[in-house]
């Protein structure tokens, strides 16, 4: 009995450490890890070398619908869904692996890391709370994050059909014309 409890506690500590290393805010830890707040705060300080930032989490669904965040979020969520639903991984396992694969892409492509871990976690929670759905783009056929219960038979994603003022100037290329953000 005691061995089981000890092992479980160790697993939770390990989970907390992984999440902290990936940038999780305290609220994420409190939600997902079964250690008390005091221990989580201490762990946070030890692992990250600083005190956990205070303040509420940004809880808006709107952010995920803006152009670049939508593409990055959709990319992350596709990976998460594949691992969770396709490969039947346990929830936090799938989440952490998916986030690491997202980070890998950022590193390989040199794109900006738009989706922080806490944001990714919020995204998953929004899907679980039925506030988001996936809509299929009529051009590329890929699934994108969208408000739940939105009619989407004509849906076009932000890459196949960018909003008229999308597109930041690329750092590598010389600017041919001024693009408004």
């Amino acid at each position: 009995m005691t061995t089981k409890k000890l092992l479980e506690e160790l697993n939770q500590v390990q989970l907390a450490i992984e999440l902290i290393e990936l940038g999780a805010r305290l609220q994420v830890l409190e939600s997902e890890v079964s250690l008390n707040r005091g221990r989580l705060v201490r762990l946070y300080k030890e692992v990250s070398g600083k005190s956990p930032p205070k303040g509420m989490l940004p809880f808006s669904t709107d952010w995920f619908m803006t152009w670049q965040p939508n593409v990055h979020s959709s990319f992350f969520y596709n990976i998460y869904a594949r691992l969770r639903e396709g490969q039947k991984l346990e929830r936090m396992q799938a989440f952490i692996k998916a986030y690491k694969l997202y980070q890998e892409h950022i590193q390989l492509s040199g794109e900006e890391e738009v989706l922080a871990l806490t944001r990714a976690w919020t995204l998953v929670r929004f899907f679980e709370s039925d506030m988001f759905q996936l809509s299929k783009c009529n051009c590329c056929g890929l699934q994108f994050v969208n408000h739940a219960h939105t009619p989407d038979h004509d849906y076009m994603c932000g890459v196949c059909q960018p909003p008229s003022r999308a597109g930041k100037p690329l750092k590598q290329k010389p600017l041919k014309s001024r693009k408004e953000i």
């Binding site: 692996k97 492509s109 590329c140 890459v159």
Partner: protein
């Protein structure tokens, strides 16, 4: 039938692939399955193969690999998107993740 150079290259590719699969599975099974798009049964089978079995399979003058590029029309749409918004790499990565 004489062995053409191309068949040898195919056989080498087969063997390299199987060995890489074994390595990936040992390193991180779930991520390997995600990257390779194979199922659990095949992953287990390849992971447990002996050198003899690997070689026997690899020597078949058939490709052990099938392209994993998803629907052609979708891939084409992504690659030929004329709107340069800096999102192409992520778009492609998304396509590959869902393939």
């Amino acid at each position: 039938m004489s062995h053409s150079k191309t068949i040898s290259e195919l056989q080498e590719l087969n063997l390299s692939y199987l060995m890489l699969v074994q390595k990936l599975i040992v390193e991180d099974r779930d991520t390997a399955i995600f990257r390779l798009k194979i199922d659990d049964d095949l992953a287990d089978l390849i992971a447990d193969m002996s050198a003899k079995e690997l070689t026997m399979l690899a020597r078949q003058p058939q490709s052990l690999l099938q392209p994993n590029l998803g629907p052609v029309s979708q891939l084409k749409a992504i690659l030929t998107n004329k709107r340069d918004t800096g999102m192409q790499a992520t778009h492609l990565a998304m396509h590959m993740a869902s393939a």
